[in-house]
């Protein structure tokens, strides 16, 4: 099971938890790493690209954000303190690439890079064409700018949508509705 990926270009760290190996690499060298993993390690199938926002990670309160400017309110119903603080994250956003090799046992690998707001992540569309829509979705909902993507436009929300809904500082509820009294 344990297979080492220390030889991957731009290698930063590696850990295996829940039988899943996560390899963190330098953001700038992602395209090179992707090509290496596809051609040398046999990960020819890109299953998924997903970004996560860790704003407020480990802060007081719970997972899920109530969305007011003052932060989390412990007195709101359903808000409970954490028993122990989760370990800190290096930057605000993680972008994970779930790779799969079409071989016996379906070996999988999570390739991960970290970035702050506005920092570009190299696009892997040239390596795995399927990344096209995945990257557009993460750009749309999480606001990750993928550098070198041939067509980086919104995909799920309308073209004139403001903000990136899956970010933790994006409030829930209250989006403008046409022809309502609030307009």
């Amino acid at each position: 099971m344990a297979r080492s990926y220390g030889h991957v270009p731009g290698f930063v760290s590696e850990r295996t938890r829940h039988d899943e190996t996560t390899v963190v690499v330098e953001r700038e060298r992602l395209a090179e790493v992707a090509r290496f993993l596809r051609d040398e390690e046999g990960f020819e199938f890109l299953s998924d690209v997903v970004a996560a926002d860790y704003l407020g990670w480990g802060g007081s309160g719970v997972a899920g954000y109530w969305g007011d400017a003052s932060g989390r309110d412990l007195n709101r119903p359903g808000s409970w303190g954490l028993a122990e603080l989760p370990e800190p994250k290096p930057k605000r956003f993680s972008v994970s690439y779930h790779l799969l090799a079409l071989a016996k046992g379906a070996p999988r690998l999570r390739l991960q890079v970290w970035c702050d707001d506005g920092e570009p992540v190299p696009s892997v569309v040239a390596v795995w064409p399927t990344a096209d829509w995945h990257e557009r979705e993460q750009f749309d909902l999480m606001g990750i700018p993928f550098e070198g993507h041939p067509n980086l436009v919104r995909i799920l929300t309308p073209e004139d949508w403001e903000g990136h809904p899956l970010r933790k500082d994006y409030p829930i509820g209250g989006e403008p509705v046409r022809f309502s009294e609030a307009e």
Binding site: V62, A63, G64, L82, L102, A106, I155, P165, I172
Partner: protein, 437 residues
């Protein structure tokens, strides 16, 4: 429809369908994925300059788009020279909503993502929770989950077959498929009390025991199912109109299918022998005997054949699950995660406290991130779950197989005619709820 009801015997097909249907030459040379944008077929400039290009908006409100898919198609006469899929009309923010709910409340959301194979979506989310919790599931729950996942596959394929047939003018197929679909919904009603979105899977097992009479009623369905699939095939396989509209249409080679991330029936119709139920054993699949249908043609007809064979195989699996269903508890005995039995609440203070804490706060899931995949009706269904140690998910993301399938629209529609577009879009089997989430 040219089906003749007088045809006496349907071709008797054995259970073994694993042998490949053809070993002809590769369907096309090189790659057909457009460049540089893999998902958009762009009109060449010289063709655009002729002023003969007609741009047609197909959808989002069109009966043949399986919901709200919109295709912007550039036509040169009847030939498709450019195509762009526009999605998002059904985006409902499931992932954002789930972050606001405790885990046991969030289980109701994934079912509504893919509203044709809801049990499988529920399953992938519950498996992700269990993986983070390190929770063991009793054998009876594992077998029942396998059974329901396969029933959901038959259900989803039936709806696909009925609607895809409808779009090609075969209206009788729709009635037949929905007749069997109703039997499956009856079974779902028996286990969960509702016909769709049953929310029968809990973290740790099942919400309730398998109801009495389920096995008998399910066996009745299984007994007729494979014969019914033969009937469907008899309707289509000798129908000249259907054959001409599906054979050699919407080609996708194995290499392009992998590069475009295709999975499930799409991949197996392009000649790749890949099924997570075999390659990455989960639930009770390692103990079950079934075949994976693979076809090499990579066209709409091959996708149709894969769906048909999968229905037969699923019926086989359901029968084995009924035979092999072990006795015992249906949910894990972990009082920090699983609701205590109702009767205990009247006598045990401890149970009452557990019940109160679970219902108001929910259970806490240890910090970590997992990515769990299963073979859903449409292919690789993935769930990425991040927990910060609290009772609500920090981040949930679903890898939707039909979202990825729609990425192949441009490659499949290269050199196609406008009339083929309907058949090709149907063969990708998109469920827009899942595409837009």
């Amino acid at each position: 429809m040219t089906a003749s009801p007088t045809t006496p015997a349907f071709p008797a097909r054995g259970a073994a369908q694993a042998q490949r249907a053809s070993t002809g030459p590769p369907i096309y040379e090189g790659t057909r994925i457009p460049s540089p944008i893999p998902t958009i077929l762009q009109v060449p400039d010289e063709l655009r300059a002729t002023d003969d290009i007609l741009t047609v908006n197909f959808g989002p409100n069109h009966p043949s788009t399986h919901g709200v898919l919109r295709l912007v198609v550039d036509l040169d006469g009847e030939r498709v020279v450019g195509v762009r899929a526009v999605i998002g009309y059904l985006h409902t923010g499931f992932e954002k909503s789930m972050e606001q709910k405790s885990y046991w409340k969030a289980i109701t959301y994934p079912e509504r993502i893919d509203y044709l194979s809801f049990q499988q979506n529920e399953l992938v989310f519950v498996l992700a929770i269990e993986k983070l919790l390190g929770l063991e599931t009793p054998p009876k729950a594992i077998w029942m989950r396998t059974l329901l996942a396969e029933l959901a596959r038959i259900h989803s394929h039936l709806v696909w077959l009925g609607t895809a047939g409808l779009e090609l003018g075969a209206i009788s197929m729709f009635w037949y498929c929905f007749r069997e679909r109703d039997l499956i919904l009856d079974l779902f009603e028996l286990v969960g009390g509702v016909r769709m979105h049953t929310r029968y899977f809990q973290a740790g097992g099942l919400a309730e025991d398998v109801p009495t009479g389920f096995a008998e009623q399910c066996r009745k369905l299984v007994d007729v199912m494979s014969k019914r699939v033969d009937e469907y095939e008899a309707l289509f396989d000798r129908n000249q109109i259907f054959l001409e509209r599906t054979k050699g249409i919407g080609l996708l080679s194995a290499r392009d299918a992998i590069a475009l991330g295709q999975s499930g029936p799409m991949l197996r119709a392009s000649g790749v022998d890949w099924d997570l139920r075999k390659a990455q054993p989960y639930l009770a699949y390692p103990q079950l005997d079934f075949d994976v249908p693979v076809y090499d043609e990579g066209d709409v007809y091959a996708r149709y054949k894969v769906h048909m064979d999968e229905m037969r195989q699923s019926a086989r699996i359901v029968r084995q699950c009924l035979d092999g269903m072990p006795e015992g508890p249906w949910i894990a005995d972990d009082r920090k995660v699983v609701l205590p039995p109702r009767a205990e609440l009247h006598t045990s203070m401890e149970s009452l406290i557990h019940h109160f804490k679970l219902v108001t706060e929910g259970y806490r899931v240890p910090e970590g991130e997992v990515y769990v995949t299963i073979e859903s009706s449409r292919g690789e269904m993935g769930c990425y779950l991040v927990s910060d140690g609290g009772p609500k998910p920090w981040r949930v993301h679903f890898r939707a197989p039909s979202f990825v399938a729609l990425e192949a629209t441009a490659a499949c529609l290269t050199d196609a005619l406008i009339a083929d577009m309907i058949a090709v879009a149907a063969s990708l089997d998109p469920v827009m709820g899942e595409v837009d989430r």
